[in-house]
C-alpha cells in the first residue's frame, strides 16, 4: 500500500529529499576529514559505525531504543515549528515529564493496585499532562504579555533542570538511602513493558511511532489541525477567517509540551527507571535538529530520529572497534548537528522570508 498520507502533507519527491541528503553527505565528508586529521581510517570507522547500528537484530534493536527519545521530542518540536511556534523548550518539558513519572512511580504507585495495566497508563498520562502544563507557561506569557517563546522556553529549560536537581538532591524525591543525587527506583508495576526481554526494546518505540501517525493525521486531515497550521502559517489570514489565534497558540504549546513530557516518562519508565542528574543528554535540543532534518514532517521525523539513534550506537561502536576517542565522536556528532541546523534553518527562514515579502 502506498503511504498516501505523506502526499497530503508534503510532496515528498527527489527534490524534497535533496536537502537532507546534501546535509548528511556534507557532514559525513567533513567528519571523514576530521578523522583523517586524527589519524583514523574513515572508511574503517564508518564501516564499524554501520555495523554497530544495524549489524544484527540486537544492534538494530538498540538503535531503535536510542531513537525513541529523539523521535518523540522531535515530534514535539516539528509540531510546534509547523504551527509557527518556536518552542525550544522540549528539553525542559522532557525533564518535567520524567520528574512527574518519578514522583508517580516512587510515591503514588505504591498505593495503587499492583497492575501495570492501571499504573503505566496513569503514569504516562500524568507525565504527559505535566509536560503540557509546563508548555502552557510560555504560551500564557506569549498570549498575555507578548513574550517571545524562544527566550521563555530556553529559560524554562533551566528552571526545569534545577527543579529536577532540587527534587532529587536533598529534596523529597531523593533516594531513601540518601547516597547521591538520584531518586529511588520506581516500583516494578510502573515499568514500561519490554517487548522482547531481555532485550531493551520497549513499548515506547511503538507509542512514539503511533504518535507520529496520529500527529500527521491530526495536522493534515482534521479541522483542528488545519486551524493550528493556519494560525502558524498566516496569523492575520487565519484570524480574518474566524480562527482564534489565542486558543490555537495555547493548543500548540500544550500538545508540543505534552509530547515531550511523554517522551521523558517513556525514557524513565522503560530504561533508566530512576531519575538522576544529567538524565537527558540534551534530547530536547537535538530534537530541533531531528525535526529540521525531517523538514518538520511528522512521518519523516521517524526516519530522522532513527538516523540520530544510529549515530549514537554507531559512535559507541567506532570507539570500541576502531578505538576512536569519545572526544572525536562527540566532535563528529556536533558537526552533523551544525550542518543540519545550519542548512535547514537557512532554508526554513528563507522560505518564510520569501513568502512574507
Amino acid at each position: 500500500m502506498k503511504l498516501n498520507v505523506i502526499n497530503i502533507s508534503d510532496k515528498i519527491n527527489i527534490r524534497w529529499l535533496a536537502t537532507p541528503v546534501i546535509i548528511l553527505a556534507s557532514a559525513f565528508v567533513t567528519n571523514a576529514i576530521i578523522m583523517l586529521l586524527c589519524n583514523y581510517n574513515p572508511l574503517e570507522a564508518y564501516q564499524a559505525a554501520v555495523s554497530g547500528a544495524f549489524g544484527n537484530g540486537r544492534k538494530f534493536g538498540e538503535t531503535l531504543v536510542k531513537s525513541t527519545p529523539f523521535l518523540i521530542t522531535g515530534l514535539s518540536v516539528a509540531m510546534a515549528f509547523r504551527c509557527g511556534i518556536w518552542n525550544i523548550g522540549a528539553e525542559g518539558q522532557f525533564l518535567v515529564g520524567a520528574l512527574t513519572a518519578t514522583w508517580f512511580g516512587t510515591k503514588l504507585a505504591p498505593i495503587f493496585p499492583q497492575s501495570p495495566w492501571v499504573a503505566v497508563p496513569l503514569c504516562l498520562g500524568f507525565a504527559t499532562l505535566a509536560g503540557g502544563i509546563w508548555g502552557l507557561i510560555p504560551a500564557i506569557l506569549k498570549v498575555a504579555r507578548g513574550v517571545n517563546e524562544v527566550i521563555s522556553t530556553i529559560m524554562l529549560n533551566y528552571v526545569a533542570l534545577h527543579l529536577v536537581s532540587m527534587m532529587i538532591d536533598g529534596g523529597p524525591l531523593q533516594e531513601t538511602a540518601q547516597r547521591g543525587p538520584q531518586s529511588d527506583r520506581i516500583v516494578e508495576w510502573v515499568f514500561l513493558p519490554r517487548i522482547l526481554p531481555p532485550h531493551r526494546i520497549h513499548l515506547g518505540i511503538i507509542i512514539a511511532v503511533v504518535f507520529a501517525i496520529i500527529l500527521t493525521f491530526v495536522l493534515f486531515r482534521t479541522a483542528f489541525g488545519y486551524q493550528l497550521r493556519a494560525v502558524g502559517e498566516g496569523a492575520a489570514a487565519a484570524e480574518a477567517a474566524g480562527i482564534s489565534i489565542v486558543h490555537n497558540t495555547l493548543r500548540v504549546f500544550f500538545i508540543s509540551g505534552a509530547l515531550a513530557g511523554l517522551g521523558g516518562a517513556i525514557e524513565l519508565t522503560a530504561l533508566t527507571r530512576r531519575l538522576f542528574l544529567n538524565f537527558s543528554p540534551g534530547y530536547g535540543y537535538t530534537a530541533i535538529a531531528v525535526a529540521l532534518l525531517a523538514k518538520l514532517n511528522p512521518l519523516v521525523t521517524v526516519a530522522a530520529a532513527l538516523l540520530f539513534g544510529a549515530l549514537t550506537t554507531g559512535s559507541y561502536s567506532m570507539q570500541r572497534e576502531v578505538g576512536i576517542s569519545d572526544k572525536v565522536t562527540l566532535v563528529m556528532q556536533a558537526t552533523i548537528l551544525l550542518f543540519v541546523i545550519g542548512y535547514s534553518s537557512v532554508q526554513l527562514f528563507r522560505k518564510r522570508a520569501s513568502s512574507h515579502s
Binding site: R221, A223, Y226, E233, G234, A236, A237, E239, A240
Partner: protein, 536 residues
C-alpha cells in the same frame, strides 16, 4: 531658461498585458515643487518607482542632470544607481530601523553609498576617516547628523531612538537620510497621509526651505488642497497616461478633480442591473455612532452611522487611508470600537468568530496577509473560512472527497489558474490569489458581504466576473457593503452611495451623477464647501 534636472521621455511600463504607465513625458526643474495627482492605480507609484530605480522602464528614456551638471541617460538597475545620481525617495511607509538611533539610521544610509557623501557633509571631515576604516564611531554619526540638521534647519535629536519619535519626526529623519547622500531630487510619496494638520504645516515649511536650497521635489498626493497650497506645477495622471500638466492655479480644484477622474465615467455600461426594491425593513447591518481607532490610536472612523438592507449594494467610495480599512475591520470584529455599536441581523456579535458564524463574508483589503496564506495550497486556502470548514468536517475530520470536490468546483467556477488544487498560493499571481478569496467568500452566499477593494489587481474580465457575483448576491436579497477606492466600480454597482473622507461617512447618493462633486467630497471638501464654491 530654467534647466530641467530630470526628464522622462515617452516612458512606458507594462506588467504582463497591463500597461501601468503609458508613454508619459515628465520634466522636473531645479527648485520646483511638482505635484503629481491621480487616483489609486493611476500609475503614480509606478512612475516614481521607475525614477527611483525600483523598476526599469519597458520603453522610453529617463535623463538626469547630476551634481556636476552632467546630463546623461539614467539606466538605474536599482535604487543604488538612482541615489548615486542624486535622487532620493521618502516612502509612504518609512524605511527606518526602529531600534537604532537617528544618527545610526543616517549613518546606515551613508554607509551604503560611498559616493556623493563627500559633497554632502564636506565641512565635517570625520566621515572620511570613518568610511576608510570601516569603523562605526557613534560620535561621528552624531556630528554628521547635527551638521545636516543644522544646515537644513531640520531639528532632530541625533541620539534619540527612532521608535520613540513621532511620525512627523520620523519623516524628518527620512528626509535627512536622503539629504545625507545629497539628493537633489526628492520624491515624496504621499508624505502628508500620516501627518496631523499641525504637522503638515511644519512639513510645508521644511519643503519650502529645501526648495530655497535649490532642490527639486516631486510631491505625490490625493489631497487637492495641499497640492494647491504647496506646488508650483501639477501633473495629473489617469490610467497610466499624463492627462494634464500646468502651473498651479491654472485650474481650480473642481477642474483638477475632473481631470483626475475623467469624464468618461458616466458612460460605464450598467449591464446586469435590475432594479431591486428593498422589501424588508429590517436592516442587515446597522452601525450606530461607531468610532474606531487606527493603528496609532488616532481616530480612524469618527461617529459613523449607517444601515444596509437585504437586496442592495451599498458603496463606500473614497481615497485610500481615510478609515475604510478600519471601518471594515470594526464591522468584522477584528478591531475594537470604543464607542458606538455594530449590529448584524439584529444581534451584536463580539469578535470575528461570532461575526463569521452569523454568516458574514469578508473580502479583506490586503490579500497577501489577510486574504490567503502563501504557504497553503489553493485547496487549503479555499477552506479558510470557518463556515466552509464546518461544512466539510464530520467529527472534526475533514472529508477528503468533499474537500477535493468543493475545491475542484470552485477552481472551475472562478477560473483560478493554474487549475491545480495542490499549487501553493505563493506561486499564483495576485489576481488569482484574489480569485481564491472571492470564490471562498461569495460561494457561501453570505447574508452580508463586506468587500474591500475586491477587484484590485484583477484584469478586466476577472473584475467583471466579480462584479457579476456581487450583483448576484444582491439579486438573491443579500446585503453587500462595497468599500472601494475605484470610483467607477462603486458607481457601477451601488444602489446607495457614501463617500468616506477623514474618517467621516458622507451620504452621496444624490451626487452620483456629479463627478466633480464626488471628487470634491473624496478629497476632503464637505457639502458646504461645494455649495459655497458653486454659488461663488
Amino acid at each position: 531658461m530654467i534647466e530641467s534636472i530630470l526628464e522622462l521621455r515617452n516612458v512606458t511600463k507594462t506588467f504582463g498585458d497591463f500597461v501601468a504607465v503609458d508613454s508619459v513625458d515628465f520634466e522636473l526643474q531645479a527648485g520646483e515643487i511638482h505635484a503629481i495627482l491621480g487616483e489609486n492605480g493611476a500609475g503614480k507609484s509606478t512612475l516614481m518607482n521607475l525614477i527611483y530605480g525600483l523598476y526599469q522602464p519597458t520603453a522610453g528614456r529617463i535623463y538626469v542632470t547630476d551634481r556636476e551638471n552632467w546630463r546623461y541617460r539614467l539606466r538605474a538597475k536599482s535604487p543604488r544607481d538612482s541615489i548615486a545620481s542624486g535622487i532620493g525617495m521618502v516612502h509612504q511607509h518609512f524605511m527606518l530601523i526602529e531600534n537604532l538611533t537617528v544618527a545610526e539610521n543616517i549613518a546606515l544610509s551613508i554607509g551604503q553609498l560611498r559616493t556623493g557623501v563627500a559633497k554632502s557633509v564636506s565641512e565635517n571631515g570625520a566621515y572620511k576617516e570613518w568610511l576608510r576604516k570601516f569603523l562605526f564611531k557613534k560620535e561621528d554619526a552624531i556630528h554628521i547628523t547635527e551638521a545636516l540638521s543644522e544646515r537644513f534647519g531640520l531639528a532632530v535629536d541625533p541620539s534619540a531612538l527612532v521608535r520613540s519619535l513621532s511620525v512627523g519626526l520620523k519623516q524628518r529623519v527620512e528626509i535627512l537620510k536622503a539629504l545625507a547622500v545629497d539628493a537633489r531630487i526628492l520624491i515624496l510619496d504621499e508624505p502628508t497621509a500620516v501627518l496631523s494638520p499641525q504637522e503638515v504645516e511644519g512639513f510645508f515649511t521644511i519643503l519650502r526651505k529645501l526648495q530655497a536650497d535649490g532642490r527639486a521635489i516631486i510631491f505625490i498626493s490625493h489631497k487637492m488642497k495641499e497640492v494647491l497650497d504647496i506646488s508650483d506645477r501639477i501633473t495629473v495622471l489617469r490610467r497610466g497616461k499624463k492627462v494634464y500638466l500646468g502651473k498651479t492655479g491654472e485650474l481650480t480644484a473642481r477642474e483638477l478633480a475632473r481631470e483626475m477622474i475623467g469624464e468618461d465615467i458616466n458612460e460605464v455600461e450598467r449591464s446586469n442591473r435590475t432594479d431591486v426594491e428593498i422589501e424588508s425593513s429590517d436592516s442587515v447591518l446597522q452601525l450606530s455612532n461607531l468610532t474606531v481607532l487606527g493603528d496609532r490610536n488616532e481616530i480612524a472612523v469618527a461617529d459613523v452611522s449607517m444601515e444596509t438592507y437585504g437586496g442592495e449594494i451599498v458603496g463606500i467610495a473614497g481615497v485610500d487611508g481615510n478609515g475604510q480599512r478600519e471601518l471594515a475591520e470594526a464591522i468584522m470584529g477584528l478591531r475594537h470600537a470604543p464607542y458606538g455599536s455594530v449590529s448584524i441581523l439584529g444581534a451584536n456579535p463580539k469578535g470575528i468568530k461570532a461575526v463569521r458564524q452569523r454568516g458574514v463574508g469578508y473580502i479583506p483589503e490586503d490579500r497577501q496577509t489577510t486574504g490567503v496564506i502563501a504557504e497553503f495550497s489553493i485547496t487549503e486556502n479555499l477552506l479558510l473560512n470557518v463556515t466552509h470548514l464546518d461544512n466539510l468536517t464530520q467529527w472534526n475530520i475533514l472529508n477528503q472527497k468533499k474537500k477535493r470536490e468543493t475545491a475542484a468546483q470552485l477552481i472551475t467556477d472562478y477560473d483560478i489558474r493554474p487549475p491545480v488544487a495542490d499549487t501553493p498560493a505563493s506561486s499564483l499571481s495576485g489576481g488569482n490569489q484574489q480569485k481564491i478569496v472571492i470564490a471562498r467568500e461569495i460561494s457561501l452566499h453570505p447574508d452580508l458581504l463586506v468587500a474591500v477593494n475586491p477587484t484590485r489587481g484583477l484584469d478586466v474580465n476577472a473584475a467583471r466576473y466579480v462584479h457579476e457575483n456581487l450583483l448576484a448576491q444582491r439579486d438573491q436579497k443579500k446585503s453587500v457593503l462595497l468599500i472601494s477606492t475605484e470610483l467607477d466600480e462603486v458607481l457601477l454597482l451601488s444602489d446607495r452611495l457614501y463617500v468616506m473622507s477623514r474618517g467621516k461617512l458622507i451620504e452621496a447618493t444624490a451626487q452620483r451623477n456629479d463627478i466633480e462633486a464626488l471628487g470634491m467630497l473624496m478629497t476632503g471638501e464637505t457639502h458646504r464647501d461645494i455649495r459655497d464654491s458653486l454659488e461663488s
